[in-house]
Every structure is written in C-alpha cells, then in structure tokens.
C-alpha cells in the first residue's frame, strides 16, 4: 500500500461573468494594492479593449498606468523598459490584459521589480523564485492557450517555472470577448479540452485536479458549439475562456501530456496555432492511450459524458463514444463556411514526410514515448483514420 502522497495546488482566484472587470478595484484593495500598471498587447489595444479596463476603474478613486502594445513575443528589452517606469512611478501591482506575450511580460516584470534586472537570467528554470511577488491580476482578453494561469512563463527562449508566477486573480468578462475570432477561439477551446482530458488520465492525476478538469470540459461541451454557431454570443465565448482558465489550473498540476507535446511541436514547426494541431491529434492520441491503459477509457468517459449518458452507457462502448464526441466537435468546426478548421493533418500545411521530424521534436522537448509509436499516432491524425 505504498501509495505516494498526492499534491494539488491552485492559488488562483477565478472571477468570471458579467461585470467581472468592475470588481477589480476592490480585489486590488483586498491584496493591499491601489496603483496598478496595466499591460496590454497590440492586438488587444487594436480591438479597442483598453476602454473597458479604464471604465472598470471609474469611480474607484484609483489611477493607474497603461502600457499598450507589448510586442508579439516576450522580450527582455520591453520588460526592462516597463520595469523602469514601474519603479519610477511607484506602482504596487500588475494587471495584464490580452494573451500570450502580455502575460509572459507581466510575469517577467514581476520577477524583475521584486529583485534586480539581472535576476531574470538567474531565475530561469524550475522553482528558482523563493518569495511572493507583487499582486498580479490576469485578464484574458484574447484567445490564448490558458497559460496565463499556469506556473510557466516563456521569455526569449527561457522557460520559468514557479508557482509564485501564478496570478492572484484571473478575471474573465464577456464584454472583452465581443469581436468574433473563430479560428483563435476554436484553437483555445481545443487546447483547453486537450489539457483537461490529458490531466484526467495523467499518472499524477487525482480527484482534486479532476474537479478543475471536469469543469473545463463541461464548459467546452456547453459553450463551444454555441460559440461556433453564434460567434457574437458573448456568454458562449466567455464559457470557452472559462474553460481555458480552468484547464490551465489542472494543467499546472501535471506534466504536459502526449497530445499537448505533439500538437505544440507541430504547431511551432509549421506556424499553425498549436490548439488547432492539438485538436486534430486529440482523438488519435487518446485512442492510443486508451489502448495502452484500460482505465483511461472510463476516466475519460466520466469526464466527457453527462449524467444521463453515464447512467445508460455500457463500458464496452466508452472508447468509441469518446472518440465520436471529439470527432463531432471537429466536424462542427470543419463545417464553418468561412475558413473551416482542418480535421486532419493532411488538410493543413504539414507534409506526411515531416511527421518523423515532428515526433522527434516532441521527444526532444520531453515526450517520453517511442518514436515509432508517435509516428503511428501522427499518421492516424494525418489520414484521419483510426489507429490499427
């Protein structure tokens, strides 16, 4: 009975729904802060979303600094630039609005202003930070990968891992999801689904992680199809945003799974949103894992099916039902009139003879799987045919 001790940690508070932004001032007060710097990326600024955060602070008695338009990838120069402003103006908290780069820059900024600029190089790696940083609020406003919630930051080819990088609060407000961007939204949705499902069958998984993973999947089930059919439906879009945040919490507690790694490798190599790749590979990757491990099927079915289905489905059909569900999502995304989402790798720019290279890249980045097995899964995803 030598079971190892399970561990779960999610220090992020989630505020999601109508008027969530307007709660930010009082949340800052509760974190003993009242002068934030707000950082947004160019995409978010271009969509005119900055006005919403300004509105949220009206009547709060607080003023703040706004740095609009950080570059598309996080770089040390921008961080240093902003940190000088931060220290000069005496800010006491950081709010990052947008996705990806804005979040990584905010995390980098947080490390720098709590120490010395040179620190950034020294803190790269795992668990190098040993004290709490400034209060940090993440406001996802664009379609990203849910990584803002996680303990990771990626700055100029360096990876930083520490739970002190996780935001104190994530704010998801439907008003920020008004401009329909279906390609990016579906990519985010599929990243969320991948992270959540892989967390459910991870060897380090547990009941606590499942609470976040299951909720993420339920949000996808309820909201992704609606968001695809009604791109302007703010609440549906917000539901997908919720899913990304919740899946990020689950993901933060396990190491990345197979579909994540393969999808990321493919996406990086061919400049395709990695969520799209993950979405394509997902049913095949899961099929592979269910073949290798019997218990996966019931864990996945438990996560995907609602209570009625769970009640009346026999265990022998779990596998097929899981794969069918994901493929049905793929079909919905593929039936979009404008820019249909590819269902197989063949429908993307990826060529069949590059599959071994993708497999190799994933293995180099930490996937512990036999290369031939990887290629088997990728080939299935390429052809759209079930694994033998």
């Amino acid at each position: 009975m030598e079971e190892s001790t399970i561990e779960f940690f999610c220090p992020v508070k989630t505020n999601a729904g109508k008027k969530a932004l307007d709660h930010i001032p009082i949340e800052l007060k509760a974190l003993d802060a009242e002068r934030p710097i707000v950082i947004t990326d160019q995409h978010t600024a271009n969509k005119g979303l900055s006005k919403y955060i300004i509105n949220a602070f009206k009547d709060s008695g607080m003023s703040f600094g706004l740095f609009e338009g950080v570059p598309k990838t996080a770089d040390i120069k921008t961080i240093r630039n902003i940190s000088q402003k931060f220290l000069y103006k005496g800010f006491d908290s950081i709010i990052a609005m947008g996705a990806g780069a804005a979040m990584d820059i905010a995390k980098g900024l947080n490390m720098v202003v709590c120490g010395k600029p040179g620190d950034l190089k020294n803190l790269a790696g795992v668990n190098k930070i040993d004290h709490r940083l400034m209060p940090f609020i993440a406001v996802p406003a664009a379609w990203g990968n849910g990584f803002e919630i996680t303990r990771y930051a990626f700055i100029e080819n360096n990876a930083y891992t520490s739970h002190f990088l996780m935001p104190d609060l994530v704010v998801i407000d439907p008003v920020l999801f008004k401009a329909p961007e279906i390609q990016l939204m579906t990519s985010t949705g599929m990243i969320a689904l991948t992270h959540a499902l892989e967390a459910c069958i991870h060897p380090d998984g547990n009941e606590f992680i499942n609470c976040y993973a299951h909720s993420a999947i339920q949000h996808i089930k309820a909201c992704l199809p609606i968001a695809i059919k009604q791109p302007k439906n703010k609440m549906a879009n917000m539901g997908v945003g919720n899913a990304a945040a919740l899946a990020g919490c689950a993901f933060s507690n396990v190491s990345p799974g197979m579909v994540h790694r393969l999808g990321k490798a493919a996406g990086t190599m061919f400049n395709i949103p990695s969520g799209q790749c993950m979405g394509i590979i997902l049913p095949y990757g899961l099929e592979y894992q269910m073949q290798k491990n019997d218990t996966c099927a019931s864990q996945l079915f438990h996560a995907i099916a609602d209570l009625e289905d769970r009640g009346k489905t026999q265990a022998s059909v779990y596998r097929q039902k899981i794969i069918d569900y994901i493929k049905s999502l793929q079909s919905e995304m593929a039936s979009l009139k404008k820019n249909p989402i590819p269902k197989t790798l063949a429908q993307t720019d990826i060529s069949k003879d590059s599959l071994p290279a993708i497999a190799q890249k994933a293995i180099d980045n930490g996937l512990s799987m036999d290369k031939d097995e990887c290629i088997k899964v990728l080939t299935a995803a390429y052809d759209g045919k079930s694994l033998a």
Partner: protein, 415 residues
C-alpha cells in the same frame, strides 16, 4: 450545467493527501521558509495519540517550538492571546494545527495576532480587514470532517465581553492541508458517522443552494461520491485505511465546495439547534439533511435529482425515472441515517427526540423548538436557501425532524 451570470471561486490551500502525507510536512515548511513550528491541538486529539504520530513523522527534520494542547471546544480570545505569547517566546515561525473546527479557528486567530503583531484582535474583524499573507499555517484535520482546513472564516469568542468575533479573509486559509489516513484511523464510529454526514451536508447544500457555481459543483459531486462509497463501510470497519483516506478527501472537497458557494437551511436550523440545545453540529446536519431537501424540492428538484448519481451509483441512477430521482435521493439519505444508526448501535440519531447526552437525558425537547425557530431567523445562511423560511416554516420543519416523520410537502408555502 449551471453557469451563473457571475461567480467567484478561490481555494488557495495546497492539499497533500496520502497514507504518509505527514512526512511531507518538513518539505512543505521549508518551501514556506519555516522550520520552527508551534503545534496546536486539544486534549482529545493528544489523548488519542495523534500528536505522537505527527511528531514522529517530522521531528528529525524540523525543530518543534512547542506543543500546546489546551484549546477548549469553543475557541476563546484569552487562549488565543496566551498561545500567541508562546509562539513569540519560542521563536516559532509557523503553526501546525492538528484537530477539528475549534483548533483550526484558534490557530487562525493566533496566526493573525503573531503575523500582524496585533494587540487587539477586534481591529481585524469583519470582511477584508486582513490584507496580507499571514505566517505559515499547516492544517491537519482529525475528523472526516468539518472542512475547516479550507474555510476562510474564523470565529473567536470573547467570553469576557460576551461577544463572538467573526473574521473573514482569503488570507486566513491555511497554506497547506495535510490529509493523512492515520489521523482518523482511531476516530470512533459514532464520530465518524456524524462528521461524515456533516461533510455530506456541506457538499449537498453547496450543490443545491442559490450560490452554486461550476467549480463548486464539481467539487461537491466528487465529495458526495467519495463519502457515499466509504462512510458506512468505514463506520463498520474502522481500520479501513483506504476508506479513511477517501473520507478525508471527501470532507476536504466538500469544504472547498461550500466555502465557495455557501450552505442553506440545513445549516440555518442546525446552527440554531447547536446554539440553543448544544447538540453536536454533525448530528444536527445528518438529521436535518433530508428535510432541507424536501422543503426546497419545488425550487431545486433538478439539482437534487442529479445527486442520485454520486450517491447511489450508475445503475440505480439509470433505472430510476427522471421525475423520481429527487425523491429517491431523499430516501437514500434517510436510509443512510438508518444504516448508520444500526451500525453505531443507536448512537447516530435519526431524529431529534433520539438525541441524548452522556447522562441519557434528551437534549432537544419540544418546548425548545420555538426558541430554535426564532434563532434560526437570524442565521446568515438563510439567504442562500432557495426558498423563503419564516417562523412558521421553521417550526414545521423542526417538528417533523424532531419526530422523525417525513415532511408534509402539501404544507410548504411555495414562492
């Protein structure tokens, strides 16, 4: 799935769970930059030998500042101040609280005093008065369970000035909750059953009352499944280690659920019976749970019926027609109370007229009910109950729960 227009969810407590989870404490302390903990507990826990197990697991790697076991069943301001003095004297830099609700509350109070260097605790009363992280606090629950290792509330009684101080802040949450099966292995059957039903009530009310949200829902369902599968089993076979760990996890998940979505009338009435007649909290919860579900059925039948799945399992859920599931849930819980009554030889009561104290005197008499009903009207949890409750409604429910008879649903005034 119910997605409210707006919700907030937070559980900043790190959970460590296992049969040897205690051994992970030194590392957990090191990560919090602490190495001299003050161990707080009460005489019951110490007497059961649990503190020895804790110290055995950690003494080689940390310096235990002191072990204090004089915490009373009702947290007290004077004790809080005295213990803070011990903390400072022994140069402690962390607190390990081993026990149930009152030990945790006291530990949270001590933590406020030593972290904020407070001379008067009253200035930190109320919501949002504590704005910074406090010193490290590790919680080790010894029942299954109140869930107080994950609540952001502490209640400290000031017996001198005859008032109760309520503290609410996310910073009161312990840094780590350690769920180790050894801590509840020797918990007697009747305490296991009542604390287990306390946890069950937390999860059920979190799922069926007004402030429910998607995350508290998944926590509640997971909790109910663990509790339902293991409670009776463990009451019948107390040394079932796997079962004990499952109950501890279930109680923890239930605690996370209700601290994020509040509770309803079962707690409203239960708190009042506790304060008027001094009946233990878990006992009140187990008896009142079916009544709460009956009373609210016309408002939240859909949610209640979903509980049949984690409670009774896949087969029974599938076999029961949709419109009968909610009733079946109530029947299942009443049966669970009956089974626990049988398994504890009558020590787990099924109704209030069966609640006796150590001298075999009944603790709740019919003439107490009016005062209980009146007190219930002043309990904050009444807001989160799906249906309105006035004095007459409280009396009706209390009378039925006293007798142990089903609630006459035709008498419920529907809103």
């Amino acid at each position: 799935m119910h997605i409210p227009d707006y919700f907030e969810f937070c559980c900043r407590v790190k959970t460590l769970a296992g049969h040897h989870a205690l051994e992970s404490i030194p590392d957990a302390l090191a990560q919090l930059n602490a190495k001299t903990p003050l161990i707080l507990t009460d005489k019951g826990v110490a007497g059961a030998g649990l503190i020895d197990i804790v110290t055995q697991a950690i003494k080689d790697k940390v310096t235990i500042g002191s072990i204090e076991d004089n915490i009373p069943p009702d947290s007290d301001l004077k004790v809080v101040n005295d213990l803070a003095g011990v903390y400072r004297e022994k140069n402690c830099d962390a607190i390990i609280a081993v026990g149930g609700g009152s030990v945790l509350d006291t530990a949270k109070g001590v933590n406020i005093v030593v972290s904020e260097n407070a001379h008067d605790l009253i200035q930190f009363c109320g919501a949002g008065a504590i704005k910074r992280p406090l010193n490290p606090l590790i919680a080790i629950p010894t029942t299954s369970g109140t869930g107080s290792e994950v609540t952001l509330v502490a209640v400290i009684a000031d017996h001198e000035k005859n008032r109760k101080m309520l503290f609410t802040s996310y910073f009161l949450l312990p840094n780590v909750a350690v769920l180790d099966s050894r801590m509840t292995l020797t918990l007697p059957p009747f305490l296991t059953s009542s604390t287990g039903m306390d946890a069950m009530t937390h999860a059920v009310e979190a799922y069926t009352c007004l402030a429910k949200n998607p995350l508290s829902d998944t926590h509640a369902l997971a909790a109910i499944e663990l509790l339902s599968k293991n409670l009776l089993k463990v009451v019948k076979k107390p040394d079932d280690q796997e079962g004990r760990l499952a109950l501890a996890k279930g109680a923890n998940l239930a605690g996370i659920a209700f601290s994020n979505s509040m509770v309803g009338m079962v707690h409203t009435l239960g708190h009042s019976i506790g304060s008027v007649c001094h009946v233990p909290h878990g006992t009140c919860m187990s008896i009142l749970l079916p009544y709460g579900l009956w009373y609210n059925l016309h408002k939240n039948e859909a949610y209640t019926s979903e509980l049949l799945y984690p409670l009774a399992g896949q087969e029974i859920f599938a076999k029961t027609p949709k419109n009968q599931r909610a009733e079946k849930v109530i029947e299942y819980i009443r049966q669970l109370n009956q089974d626990l009554y049988d398994a504890t030889n009558g020590r787990h009561p099924r109704c209030f007229k069966e609640v006796f104290n150590r001298d075999k005197d009944p603790m709740v008499k019919l003439e107490n009910l009016p005062q209980i009903a009146k007190t219930a009207l002043g309990d904050g949890s009444i807001f989160y109950n799906p249906e309105e409750l006035d004095y007459d409604d409280c009396m009706m429910v209390l009378t039925a729960a006293w007798e142990g008879v089903p609630l006459d649903r035709s008498k419920i005034k529907k809103g």
